[in-house]
């Protein structure tokens, strides 16, 4: 189970949520600039270290967060070279995509692990993004671990009926997945329905203008952190477009 936002003392958790939201967005933008694994991999490692030293999130926790993505990563790296010619380019594509995906997940997790849901929503609102958006995002993310546990449970139930995903060709396996996907879909829809009732019964959407019980304020360290983030992003822009680093030309 993912322990989202366990209260912890770290530099990242003490920062203003706006700084972290912008930082995450720019971090994601920066990995989209490059397509060269030689740049993407160090960047990924850099974010891992940021998580460990500034976020106080141990490598073990980070690993546990990324473990569920492993199948997707492997499939990406294996499938691209098969469908894309020339093969070297396909492999490059596969790795690029996989590393980007992992980095994307990592950055999102860092944000969530160091920010409470309340701060996150408040951060979105103060940045001018509608409240519903912040709420939707944080609810969706809040349900990832629940869905993960649910799908594990459903798989266990089907295994007890002699269901084996490991057997058979790719097509048979895809078809076998319906035994898990359908109960998962039904259970998720049910949850969504219950959630909407819960929200409505607590007066969600009753008034247009929301007030907040808590407020957030930018302090000095927040401005400094923001400055550092912007400078780093500017540098990565310069590296990419000024110096031409990190982009592999796709010519064939």
């Amino acid at each position: 189970m993912y322990p989202f936002y366990p209260q912890r003392d770290s530099l990242l958790s003490s920062l203003d949520p706006r700084v972290k939201i912008i930082g995450t967005a720019l971090g994601i933008a920066s990995i989209m600039l490059y397509n060269d694994p030689k740049v993407l991999l160090p960047l990924f490692l850099l974010f891992v270290l940021v998580g460990k030293y500034l976020g106080g999130i141990s490598l073990r926790e980070q690993l546990a967060l990324m473990k569920p993505l492993l199948p997707v990563v492997i499939i990406t790296i294996v499938v691209w070279p098969v469908i894309y010619k020339p093969r070297v380019m396909g492999l490059l594509f596969g790795i690029t995509f996989a590393v980007r995906l992992l980095t994307f997940a990592l950055l999102t997790f860092l944000l969530l692990m160091t920010t409470s849901q309340r701060e996150l929503i408040l951060g979105f609102v103060k940045l001018g993004i509608p409240y519903e958006f912040g709420l939707t995002i944080s609810i969706a993310l809040r349900y990832i671990p629940t869905l993960y546990m649910l799908s594990r449970n459903i798989m266990d139930a089907q295994k007890s009926r002699g269901w084996e995903i490991e057997k058979g060709s790719f097509i048979t396996r895809a078809r076998k997945m319906t035994a898990v996907l359908i109960p998962l879909l039904v259970a998720s829809l049910k949850t969504a329905h219950e959630l909407s009732i819960a929200l409505e019964s607590r007066g969600f959407g009753a008034s247009k203008k929301r007030t907040f019980l808590y407020d957030i304020r930018m302090r000095r360290r927040d401005y400094i952190a923001m400055g550092i983030i912007v400078i780093l992003f500017a540098l990565s822009l310069y590296a990419r477009y000024g110096l031409g680093i990190g982009h592999v030309e796709l010519r064939y």
Binding site: D156, A179, P183
Partner: protein, 262 residues
């Protein structure tokens, strides 16, 4: 026979089962204990969904570590707590046929087994219905039929009557009684002490991942259950104060009292 020996199990390094020994034959064993005491975790070891971190589990001589869940599903059927977690086919027939088909049986045999399983749980005539359209009690019985169709010798039922009304609960109870009389060994996980009193021959009590009691129902109910967060059924208290002693149901109590008066 199911033989559990010195079973230990840890989720990500946190030990939740310790030193469990358990033998089971064709009997109804109630597995009870507080929330989080490890009942489901223990039960998932019996068909190999979980493998012991230390110790061993053997089912009719098969070591669960050396066999897949699919292989073990011929021996131990596991009916999950939420039946909806397994329904995905369009019709009841196909739903029940899923298990036997996975065992690689031919269509004649599959059909025979589906018929038999549906009859066992009193769902004859439901073949063409959609599983999701059934009532709570029917869903629970369908879940049992799906597992029965694989003809396991042992059955694990995880809280089979939770959330059912009296009538539906009753039909599930009757199904369990019938299966027991047909020679199945049944491990019944439940928080319902009335149900334990009614169905179980033996009770296994877990507390904090350890087995703290294993013996006949009568002896179980003489324990101080409050220590384990459990309550005694009122009919037992009534039996005590009226001097009748151990009874399994109100009607038994009434009969005993009426007999006294003669």
């Amino acid at each position: 026979m199911i033989r559990v020996r010195d079973l230990h199990f840890a989720y990500d390094g946190r030990e939740v089962l310790r030193e469990i020994d358990l033998d089971m034959e064709s009997e109804v064993v109630a597995l009870v204990g507080q929330n989080g005491s490890g009942k489901t975790t223990l039960a998932k070891h019996l068909n190999g969904l979980l493998k012991p971190t230390k110790g061993s589990v053997e089912v009719d001589g098969l070591d669960t570590r050396e066999h897949t869940v699919a292989e073990l599903s011929r021996k131990v059927g596991y009916v999950f707590q939420n039946p909806e977690h397994m329904f995905f086919e369009e019709t009841v027939f196909r739903e029940v046929a899923f298990g036997p088909r996975n065992l690689g049986l031919d269509e004649d045999e599959v059909e025979k087994r589906v018929k038999w399983a549906l009859r066992s749980v009193n769902l004859e005539g439901y073949e063409d219905r959609t599983p999701y359209s059934l009532s709570g009690g029917e869903k629970q019985r369908l879940a049992i039929a799906c597992i029965l169709a694989m003809k396991p010798r042992y059955l694990v039922l995880d809280e089979p009557t939770t959330g059912l009304d009296a009538k539906n609960g009753e039909s599930v109870i009757r199904t369990i009684e019938r299966l027991h009389s047909e020679g199945h060994g049944i491990l019944l996980i439940t928080h319902d002490m009335e149900l334990v009193l009614r169905l179980a021959e033996r009770v296994v009590l877990l507390h904090d991942g350890r087995k703290v009691f294993d013996g006949p129902v009568e002896e179980f109910f003489s324990l101080d259950l409050h220590d384990y967060g459990l309550d005694k059924p009122e009919v037992l208290l009534l039996g005590e104060v009226t001097g009748v002693g151990f009874v399994r149901s109100v009607s038994e109590l009434v009969k005993a009292l009426a007999g006294d008066g003669e």
